[in-house]
C-alpha cells in the first residue's frame, strides 16, 4: 500500500501554527471590538510592528537554538554588548560623537555589532558543542559576562551619539508607509524561515534536536552544526543590538534583562518544543506578537495596571496548555 499524503487543509489543521495564529486573531478581534477606533488603525499597526521588530530578530535565532533542544539566555546581554561596542566604535571614528557621522561610519558600526554578536555566539557554541557544558549553564554565564563586559567598556552608562542618518532611516524611517525597522526584521525572519524550513541546515537542526545520537550516527557533524546554530543566534543578537540602538537613539546598558525570557516565551508560545526537534519560524512570529498585542491592547482598552501582568501571564500559560493538550490528543489517536 502506498502511503497517501493528507490534503493540504488537513495538514494545516494538524499544525500548531494554525492554532496559535487563531489565538492571535482572536485577541485582535476582541480588542478591535472593544475599541475599534483605536485598535484597528494604521498607527496602532505600525507602532506594534516597530516595537516588536527587535524581539522578533532575537526570537528567530532562539528558535534554531531551542529546536536543537538547547537554550540561549545570553541574547539580551549580547544585544547590549553589541550595541555598546558598535556605538563606541562609531563615536571614536567620528571624533567622539558620531551624531552627524555619515553612512561609512554606520556600516562600520553594523559590522562591529555583528562581529560582537558573532564572538559571543561562537564562545557559547564552543563551550556547548566542544566542551559539552550544558547550554543553560554556558549561556547563563555569558548572560552575565556579556552584560558585564558591555558595562565595563561603556563605564556603566548608556552610550549616546548614535548617528542621525542611522536613527532617521533605520530607526524611524518608513518605505511606502512600512517602517524600515519592520522591513529589516521581516527580511531576517523570512530568511530564517527559509533556512529552517527548506535547507539541509534546517533539516539537520531538527534532527539534532530530535535525536542527537541518531544524527551523529548518520554522519551529521553535530559539533559543527551546534556551533553554527549558536553563532547564528549570536549574530542575530548583534543585529538586534544595532536595531535597538537605531530605534532608541542610544546604546542602552539597562532594560534588557528580560529580553531572553521574552524571546523564549515567544518561541515556545509559537509551538516550538523546549525538548527540541519540533517548531517553526512562522509559529515564532505569532508567538512573539501575542504578548505584544496583549500589552498594547490592555493599555488601549484601559485594563487596570495591576491586572495587566496577571492577564498576560494567564493568556500565555493558557495558550501553551491548550496547544499541549491538543498535541497529546493527536499523539494518542
Amino acid at each position: 500500500m502506498t502511503p497517501q499524503r493528507k490534503s493540504l487543509a488537513k495538514r494545516l489543521v494538524g499544525t500548531n501554527t494554525l492554532w496559535i495564529a487563531l489565538v492571535l486573531l482572536l485577541l485582535i478581534a476582541v480588542f478591535g471590538a472593544l475599541r475599534p477606533d483605536a485598535v484597528l488603525t494604521v498607527f496602532t499597526l505600525q507602532t506594534t510592528l516597530v516595537e516588536t521588530s527587535v524581539l522578533l530578530v532575537l526570537a528567530v535565532g532562539m528558535t534554531f537554538v531551542i529546536i536543537t533542544s538547547g537554550i540561549d539566555l545570553s541574547v539580551g546581554s549580547v544585544l547590549v554588548f553589541s550595541g555598546v561596542t558598535s556605538a563606541m566604535t562609531m563615536n571614536s571614528l567620528n571624533g567622539g560623537d558620531a551624531t552627524n557621522a555619515g553612512w561609512g561610519v554606520v556600516v562600520v558600526g553594523l559590522l562591529v555589532a555583528l562581529a560582537s554578536g558573532a564572538a559571543w555566539g561562537l564562545l557559547n557554541g564552543l563551550l556547548i558543542a566542544k566542551a559539552k557544558i550544558p547550554p543553560l549553564i554556558v549561556t547563563l554565564g555569558s548572560f552575565g559576562a556579556a552584560l558585564g563586559a558591555g558595562q565595563l567598556i561603556s563605564n556603566g552608562s548608556n552610550v549616546s551619539g548614535v548617528p542621525n542618518v542611522l536613527s532617521n532611516n533605520l530607526g524611524t524611517g518608513t518605505t511606502f508607509g512600512v517602517p524600515n525597522l519592520v522591513i529589516l526584521a521581516a527580511v531576517v525572519t523570512a530568511l530564517g524561515a527559509l533556512l529552517l524550513g527548506t535547507t539541509r541546515f534546517g533539516r539537520h537542526t531538527y534532527a539534532i534536536g530530535s535525536n542527537e545520537e541518531a544524527a551523529r550516527r548518520v554522519g551529521i557533524g553535530v559539533t559543527r552544526h551546534l556551533m553554527a546554530v549558536y553563532l547564528l543566534a549570536g549574530v542575530l543578537a548583534g543585529l538586534a543590538g544595532f536595531m535597538a540602538m537605531a530605534y532608541f537613539r542610544v546604546a542602552s546598558v539597562t532594560g534588557h534583562d528580560t529580553d531572553n525570557l521574552n524571546a523564549i516565551a515567544g518561541v515556545v508560545l509559537g509551538g516550538t518544543s523546549l525538548f527540541g526537534g519540533a517548531g517553526s519560524i512562522v509559529g515564532t512570529i505569532f508567538g512573539v506578537f501575542i504578548p505584544a498585542v496583549l500589552r498594547k491592547g490592555f493599555v488601549i482598552v484601559g485594563v487596570n495596571v495591576y491586572w495587566q501582568p496577571i492577564a498576560v501571564a494567564i493568556v500565555l500559560v493558557a495558550a501553551v496548555w491548550f496547544d499541549q493538550s491538543r498535541r497529546k490528543a493527536r499523539d494518542r489517536s
Binding site: A38, V39, G156, G297, I300, G302, Y306
Partner: protein, 325 residues
C-alpha cells in the same frame, strides 16, 4: 542521588548545626569600636551620573572635614550585589558609612551589623523601613518632584485641554511611586488636563515606548507625559518619535544626566526635574561628622528639586549630573 552526595550533604548539615549551636553571636562581631578617620560611600549602583554627582559632593565635603574617603558601588541596583559590599566595608572599620540601600528591608541586616560595630550609618537617596539603624537620612523630596513636574507640565501646555499620562517603573518602587503620587495630587489643580493614571513599564524602555504609543491610540488628545525616571523617559521619547509626536506631546523627565540634558536641548524632552545629588552627598557627610563627634544629628532631611526647561537650562547648569567629578 549518589551515596557520596548524601554523605556530603549530611556533613554539611552537621557543620551547619554545629555552627548554629556553637555560638550565639552574629557574623561580623568584633567588640571593638571604630576609630579610623575614614568614610565610605556605598551608592545604589556604579557609574550612574546621579550617584557620581553625589560622590563628587561626598568626596569634597569629606576631604574638607579631614576624612579619608572610599566609594564602593554594586554593578547593578540589586540587594544581593550590594550586601557583600556592605559586609566587606565592615571589615575595614570606617568611622561612618553613607549608603543608598537598594532594598528597604533586605539591607536592614547588613546595615545593622555596621551600626553594631560602632560605625555611624547615614542613608542617602533611599532609606530602610526600619528607622532605628541609620543616624540620619538625606533624600530628595520625591513627592515635591512630582508636584513640580505637574506644575511645569501645566505651564508648558498653557490652557490647552488634553490628557496626561504618568510612566512609572515597577509597582512598589518607593521613589518613583512618590513622584507619581505628587504628580497626581498637583495635576488636579488644572481642570484642562485630564489625568489618565499611571502605567508600569518594568523599567524597560521598550515597554515604555509601547505604552506611550498605545495610549496615543486610545487617547489621541494626549498632551503631556511624565516619565518618572531615566529608562521610562528614554522609552517615552522613542515612542513619541515613532508616533511623530515629538514636541507636540510635552515630555517631562526626571533626573538630569548628560544624555537627558542633551535631549532637553534638542527638544526631545520639554522639561527635566533634577534632584540635587551633590547636596545630598555633602549633607550626608555633615550628618555623619556630627554623629561621630557625638553632637546632635538632624534625623531626616529632604533636599529640594528643581524644574529645568530648555529656556532656563543655562541658568541651572549646576544641577546637571556629572559623568566624573
Amino acid at each position: 542521588m549518589s551515596k557520596r552526595t548524601v554523605r556530603t550533604l549530611g556533613l554539611a548539615a552537621a557543620a551547619l548545626l554545629l555552627t548554629a549551636c556553637g555560638s550565639s553571636g552574629q557574623i561580623g562581631d568584633s567588640g571593638s569600636t571604630s576609630t579610623a578617620k575614614k568614610m565610605v560611600l556605598i551608592p545604589g549602583v556604579a557609574a550612574e551620573p546621579f550617584y557620581i554627582s553625589m560622590e563628587c559632593g561626598f568626596r569634597e565635603a569629606a576631604k574638607s572635614a579631614g576624612y579619608e574617603v572610599d566609594v564602593q558601588a554594586p554593578a547593578k541596583f540589586d540587594a544581593p550585589l550590594q550586601t557583600p559590599i556592605v559586609t566587606g566595608v565592615l571589615a575595614n572599620k570606617p568611622a561612618a558609612v553613607l549608603i543608598a540601600p537598594t532594598d528597604d528591608k533586605a539591607l536592614a541586616g547588613p546595615m545593622k551589623q555596621l551600626k553594631d560595630a560602632g560605625i555611624k550609618v547615614v542613608e542617602v537617596d533611599t532609606k530602610l523601613q526600619d528607622t532605628s539603624i541609620a543616624s540620619a537620612t538625606i533624600s530628595s523630596n520625591n513627592e515635591q518632584g512630582g508636584e513640580k513636574a505637574a506644575e511645569t507640565l501645566a505651564k508648558l501646555v498653557g490652557d490647552k485641554p488634553g490628557s496626561v499620562l504618568v510612566l512609572n517603573t515597577k509597582a512598589g518602587t518607593s521613589t518613583t511611586d512618590a513622584r507619581a503620587k505628587g504628580f497626581e495630587t498637583a495635576i488636579k489643580k488644572y481642570p484642562n488636563l485630564k489625568y489618565l493614571g499611571q502605567q508600569y513599564t518594568d523599567n524597560e524602555p521598550d515597554q515604555a515606548a509601547s505604552k506611550v504609543t498605545a495610549t496615543l491610540s486610545a487617547n489621541p488628545d494626549l498632551i503631556g507625559v511624565f516619565a518618572t525616571n531615566l529608562n521610562t523617559g528614554e522609552g517615552a521619547a522613542t515612542g513619541l518619535r515613532n508616533a511623530g509626536k515629538t514636541g507636540a506631546v510635552n515630555l517631562v523627565g526626571f533626573d538630569a544626566s548628560p544624555k537627558q540634558v542633551q535631549d532637553l536641548q534638542a527638544g526631545v524632552v520639554q522639561a527635566l526635574i533634577a534632584q540635587d545629588p551633590a547636596t545630598i552627598g555633602k549633607l550626608g557627610v555633615e550628618r555623619a561628622v556630627a554623629a561621630i563627634e557625638g553632637k546632635e544629628v538632624k534625623r531626616d532631611t529632604e533636599t529640594d528639586l528643581v524644574a529645568i526647561t530648555k529656556a532656563d537650562a543655562s541658568a541651572n547648569e549646576k544641577y546637571f549630573y556629572k559623568q566624573a567629578c
